[in-house]
Symmetry: C2
Subunit: 258 residues, 2 copies
């Protein structure tokens, strides 16, 4: 099993350009959002006000390329397998590094992702359907509004995992231990109550099988801040390419609260 450091080196040298799910399984992987300083305070505040979809693992100093707290010696410009560049809310490029886009006024945000709590669920012998079916987790836009900050505003996006009735309590207990990676579910049961019309037609990702004894359980999703940021059309925004996360040196278990 390769260490996060070794994996980041392979990514930096463009030997790994794939999804990062399953790589360094015991370590925290993060979503990435990079914004110019002029939008950074409002976005940081947005993350604080909406910590369930936007759990901050690390925010880099203005202009810094090294996540000194979560991955010392790494470089945020090279160590993600694939990026997305948005100008005024429009996707303009999907490069494997962002050297030529880098600016001294950039602030980089690393946001926790669900890989951490999914590992905890599996450890607790709770099935994670989309992993079993080798699919992308189903994601839905909801009727729940995030708490606005400056230009950043928009609906909450959720992921859905079908959970057996007998495992609902354990699922809540296990995921509650990890507030820094979306934590406890935000809704259990009837999708209609949070504005989801058809549970078999996700807005993003793939549909998954829901068995008769299972209840759909919904978690705040790390895609929320990206969609919210895009809705607000900042002049420039850089993110990771979906599924192509930043791998940190932080062990999953070290960020639990209990």
């Amino acid at each position: 099993m390769k260490s996060p450091k070794e994996l980041r080196k392979l990514i930096r040298n463009e030997i790994i350009q794939t999804q990062t799910a399953g790589l360094a399984p015991r370590f925290v992987q993060t979503n990435l959002v990079i914004l110019p300083q002029e939008n950074a305070f409002d976005f940081l505040l947005f993350c604080n006000r909406n910590s369930k979809p936007c759990p901050l693992i690390e925010v880099l100093e203005t202009g810094s390329t090294e996540p000194v707290l979560s991955a010392p010696k790494s470089d945020i410009r090279f160590d993600v397998p694939k990026y997305r560049i948005y100008e005024n809310g429009k996707l303009v490029d999907e490069p494997t590094n962002i050297e030529k886009y880098w600016r001294k006024d950039f602030v980089s945000f690393l946001l926790g992702c669900s890989y951490t709590f999914e590992e905890a669920l599996i450890d607790a012998e709770i099935q994670v359907r989309h992993l079993q079916e080798d699919k992308t987790v189903p994601m839905f836009f909801t009727s729940i509004q995030t708490k606005k900050s400056g230009i950043f505003d928009g609906p909450l996006v959720v992921t859905m995992r079908p959970i057996h009735k007998s495992k609902i309590v354990k699922t809540i207990q296990v995921t509650s231990r990890f507030p820094n990676v979306h934590g406890a579910p935000i809704h259990i049961g009837n999708p209609d109550e949070i504005g989801i019309k058809n549970i078999l037609k996700p807005d993003l990702g793939d549909a998954v099988t829901i068995h008769e004894d299972e209840i759909p359980v919904f978690w705040a999703c790390g895609v929320t801040p990206q969609l919210v940021a895009l809705n607000s059309k900042p002049p420039l925004m850089i993110t990771h390419y979906p599924g192509h996360m930043f791998i940190t040196d932080i062990k999953n278990e070290t960020i639990s609260v209990l």
Copy 2:
């Protein structure tokens, strides 16, 4: 028992000018830090990097005087019993409202305080010594450094509560449920290991009795961000007067993670 709203009205009209400990006991009370916009991003980042001493309950939009999320219709300029005004790190005034100091570029930070987890400890039949002895909680400067952000840097300040040996596990469990108000202890036992020379001579607050079967337990303290901010000598900073907190409409139990 008066509601938070009623209490804030009495405070606004300067009928209550005392400490707020014990008022509206089931509701979250907060520390207050107000800084000009030019220092706000660095301070917000400092709070994120040091969430144990600086748990953010709410950050107001630039220039806003109303904590819309935690106490709608309140006014941060009037609804704290007593304030402290610091210029270049020096205390210059202790007014009962800050109307004449208010500026449109001010950002107000509400930070969780230990009253919430102390209530949870008492509910779990764990003695809180300084409350029993009617004293201010003992506080100590430690050899532990906070994680720097911009100009904000300095040592972690901790509070100490002596806990009976048989209650240590329960104490950790109970306080771990409240990461937004300092949460789990940061150290248990030997004070020397975190740079505290004499457990009976706190740097701030009062000494309390430690019985033979008790172990000193240390929590990150909400005084940390104030001292750190003062060390960095921002041109202007406003805080609450110690013990004279802002009373929110948030019930303590609603901010637990489990």
